[in-house]
């Protein structure tokens, strides 16, 4: 277990509590075996180098005592990154594929690049920050529960079916770099939570269950806080929070919590 060779921008960690794994050629199961062993050994910070397609990173790290780990990934992690994630932190120096944060419970995932389809599906808690664009069906059936309110901030924009069946949580699309939101079927079946889009959206792009409204003051406060987190997660972009907040946002929310109330007869 070699000591991590860390980039200057990454904070220094106690060498006893960090480790590095060269993931080149290692199968998914073995990589996750090693991560689990390290967590059990009390290591709190792990750097994974040369990751290429290994799936379910972070998934095997459940312990009843809720141990926490920070995982830094160099390379391209495989599908279901952080699926069922139970409070760990993951940062990807690169792009991520499909299924990031699937049914995630708690923790944080930061992707310094783009992410694929079904990002944050059924996510119930924790935060995900994606620097660039994301694919289809982002935040599908995202939920919230008691103090758990998932947050998803995307620097770019998303493709179709964003927030389908959405039942809770907050999704923010910043459309940085003057990206326009071209997705259709946004929020179909939405019955909870809120989506904030920076820039315009045409009513034809959203599902019939969705109401489009301007921001309220509490909305603005909330956005300022979360967009601030996004800005500080990607210092290399040199973003200015107040610049970002100058452009108009819209809020998408469900017209009803019971969209299918009148569908049935008895």
């Amino acid at each position: 277990m070699a000591r991590a060779e860390l980039d200057e921008s990454v904070p220094r960690w106690d060498p006893m509590e960090q480790a590095e794994i060269d993931a080149r050629g290692i199968a998914t199961r073995e990589l996750n075996d090693r991560l689990r062993d390290l967590m059990k050994a009390g290591i709190e910070h792990v750097v994974l180098k040369n990751v290429c397609g290994q799936r379910y990173i972070g998934t095997r790290l459940y312990t009843p005592e809720k141990k926490k780990m920070e995982i830094e990934i160099f390379g391209t992690p495989g599908n279901d990154l952080g699926a069922f994630l139970y409070g760990h932190n993951i940062r990807v120096h690169g792009n991520a594929q499909d299924g990031v944060g699937n049914t995630m419970d708690d923790g944080e995932i930061v992707v310094e690049g783009r992410a694929g389809d079904v990002l944050g599906m059924s996510m119930r808690g924790g935060k995900i920050f994606i620097r660039d664009n994301v694919g289809y069906r982002t935040a599908l059936h995202m939920k919230e529960f008691e103090d758990k309110k998932p947050l998803l901030v995307i620097g770019g924009t998303s493709q179709d079916f964003l927030g389908e069946y959405m039942a809770g949580g907050t999704v923010i699309l910043l459309g940085l770099g003057d990206r326009t939101h071209l997705a259709n079927h946004i929020g179909t079946g939405m019955h909870g939570g809120a989506i904030y889009l920076r820039g315009a959206v045409d009513p034809s792009q959203v599902g019939k269950e969705v109401a489009i409204s301007p921001l309220s003051d509490p909305d603005r406060e909330l956005l300022k806080k979360h967009v601030g987190e996004f800005v500080s997660n990607f210092p290399e972009l040199n973003l200015d929070l107040s610049e970002i907040m100058k452009k108009e946002f819209v809020r998408l929310s469900p017209r009803s919590k019971r969209p299918y109330e009148k569908l049935y007869t008895y």
Binding site: Y56, T59, A83, F84, K143, T265, Y266
Partner: protein
């Protein structure tokens, strides 16, 4: 709008016996009975009666009789009363017709056309009361062979066998979620499973936190398209995890638990806000193909550190055997198949009554398919949907199932009378409701005892039938179609079942 529907049932009250105690009024959540002060007598509104028979059984005077209404349309083999009334109901509301319980249409029940074998002369039958008789079954993947290292007296097993569930009788409780059924009913299933050496299935509504420590070890927790109540602790506290792809009562469609059933406790178990609709999408949106299913299977294996068998439940539909073979190859340890007559708390009637294939045919074709491909060892088969008695269970095993799931049978054991009004949330028997006044009627201890009694009785009957066939371990009956014969079946049906006709 004036409704043009008949009442379904007629309430008959023997005025000589009734002493106006108003017990029936309290028992009926549908509001059928009412005390009329001016007349000092009980009156009833037939239109409200669901035919659940609660008032009949609890009337201290035995004064009530509920029977199908004698009113009738002109008899018409094509336009049955049900067809006419469903149509009227839709004309009056514009809604999709909802129903509960399993398919009640007269499709052929193959169980009733299959007879079992017994030993005569050439092979002694075995008396289970005095000779060993074994029903123990392991559910999960088994390797084709095991590698052993034999060193003197010592034998080392080199092959690692994946996690398996051990059951003492081939009967498990099928998936019924907390939310669909009441807390007491859910709890009774858990208790009975634990005390009888079998497993209950949480359905997709989560497992209440306070139940995890005591009952997690006999729980199969479900991961369905709605992903309710799922976190790493839920997955890890259980004995096995089941991915629900489909359900026999409603293959191919999603569903939703209406907000009025999402009480505070149901909500916190599902980890959603109280009063919100709990919507289950039709597909899992992370599974659009078989390789995606493989991904979810392995995600769950990862999430549970490869310590739990992963089951995949699908509805038996036309081409399901080929699909199931793919599911085995995708890494599932158990396949649960749910047939045409599988139950439900709520399903559109059009779907329930018209989609899927009978479980008996499904078991046989799946078992044969997996054998033909040489992968039968790699998974266990649990058959669900339509098991009513121990003979059905043993026939299912002989057709190739490893075990069966019982749902409706378990509910009937607790008191259900199949009135099919589960979706209304007004179950007078306290089973399929979240109304604390109603669910409190179901005593958990008594319900658990009734369930355990049922399992004990069926186990005993299975042992008797097994002994009669000269077999003393259930594993020797699995897929052993020699011991079955068909009566009154067409040639094609015998072919699909892989059994001979009686006398052949």
């Amino acid at each position: 709008m004036k409704s043009f529907l008949f009442p379904e049932f007629q309430v008959f009250r023997d005025e000589n016996l009734c002493d106006q105690c108003r017990g029936c009024e309290r028992q009926c959540a549908f509001g059928t009975h009412r005390y009329d002060e001016t007349q000092d007598r009980m009156i009833s509104d037939d239109f409200k009666c669901a035919g659940c028979q609660r008032c009949v059984i609890f009337c201290p005077k035995g004064a009530i009789t509920i029977r199908p209404t004698p009113s009738s349309y002109r008899p018409n083999a094509n336009w049955s009363r049900e067809k006419i009334e469903d149509l009227k109901r839709q004309a009056e509301t514009g809604g999709v017709i909802l129903t509960g319980c399993g398919n009640d249409k007269p499709f052929r029940i193959y169980w009733d056309h299959i007879v079992l074998n017994a030993s005569q002369v050439t092979n002694p039958s075995i008396d289970p009361l005095r000779e060993p008789m074994e029903l123990r079954t392991f559910l999960g993947s088994k390797p084709d062979f095991i590698d052993l290292k034999v060193d003197g007296d010592h034998v080392d097993i080199d092959t690692r066998i994946g996690p398996n569930l051990m059951i003492e009788a081939p009967i498990l409780f099928s998936a019924m979620s907390y939310g669909a059924i009441s807390y007491n009913a859910f709890n009774a299933l858990a208790r009975a499973a634990c005390s009888s050496g079998t497993f209950f299935n949480t359905g997709e509504g989560g497992l209440p936190r306070e139940m995890r420590e005591e009952f997690g070890r006999c729980a199969i927790v479900q991961v369905a398209s709605g992903r309710f109540g799922i976190d790493a602790e839920y997955l890890n506290c259980a004995a096995a995890v089941e991915i629900k792809v489909g359900q026999g009562a409603k293959p191919g469609i999603g569903g939703h638990l209406p907000g009025e059933k999402v009480s505070q406790s149901v909500a916190s178990t599902r980890m959603i806000p109280a009063g919100a609709d709990a919507i289950s999408p039709a597909p899992h949106h992370d599974i659009y193909s078989i390789e995606d299913l493989s991904m979810l299977i392995h995600a769950l294996k990862e999430a549970t550190n490869y310590e739990k068998p992963i089951s995949v439940k699908i509805a038996a539909v036309h081409n399901f055997a080929a699909i199931a073979s793919g599911i085995v190859r995708a890494g599932a340890d158990i396949i649960a198949i749910d047939g045409l007559r599988g139950g439900t708390g709520a399903a559109p009637k059009a779907i329930r009554d018209n989609v899927g294939i009978p479980i008996e045919l499904a078991i046989s074709s799946l078992d044969r398919r997996l054998r033909d491909e040489g992968i039968r060892n790699r998974c266990s088969i649990i058959a669900a949907g339509g098991t009513r008695c121990s003979a059905d269970v043993i026939k299912a095993i002989a057709l190739g199932a490893d075990a069966v799931y019982i749902g409706t049978a378990a509910l009937v054991a607790m008191g259900c009378n199949l009135c099919q009004k589960c979706y209304t949330g007004k179950c007078n028997w306290g089973i399929c409701t979240q109304d604390p006044r109603l669910s409190g009627r179901l005593n958990t201890d008594i319900a658990a005892m009734r369930l355990s009694n049922l399992l004990a009785a069926w186990s005993h009957e299975i042992k008797e039938m097994l002994g009669g066939m000269g077999i003393n371990a259930l594993e020797s009956l699995r897929g052993n179609r020699d011991h079955l014969r068909g009566v009154g079946l067409y040639e094609w049906e015998l072919d699909v079942l892989g059994i001979k006709g009686a006398g052949e």
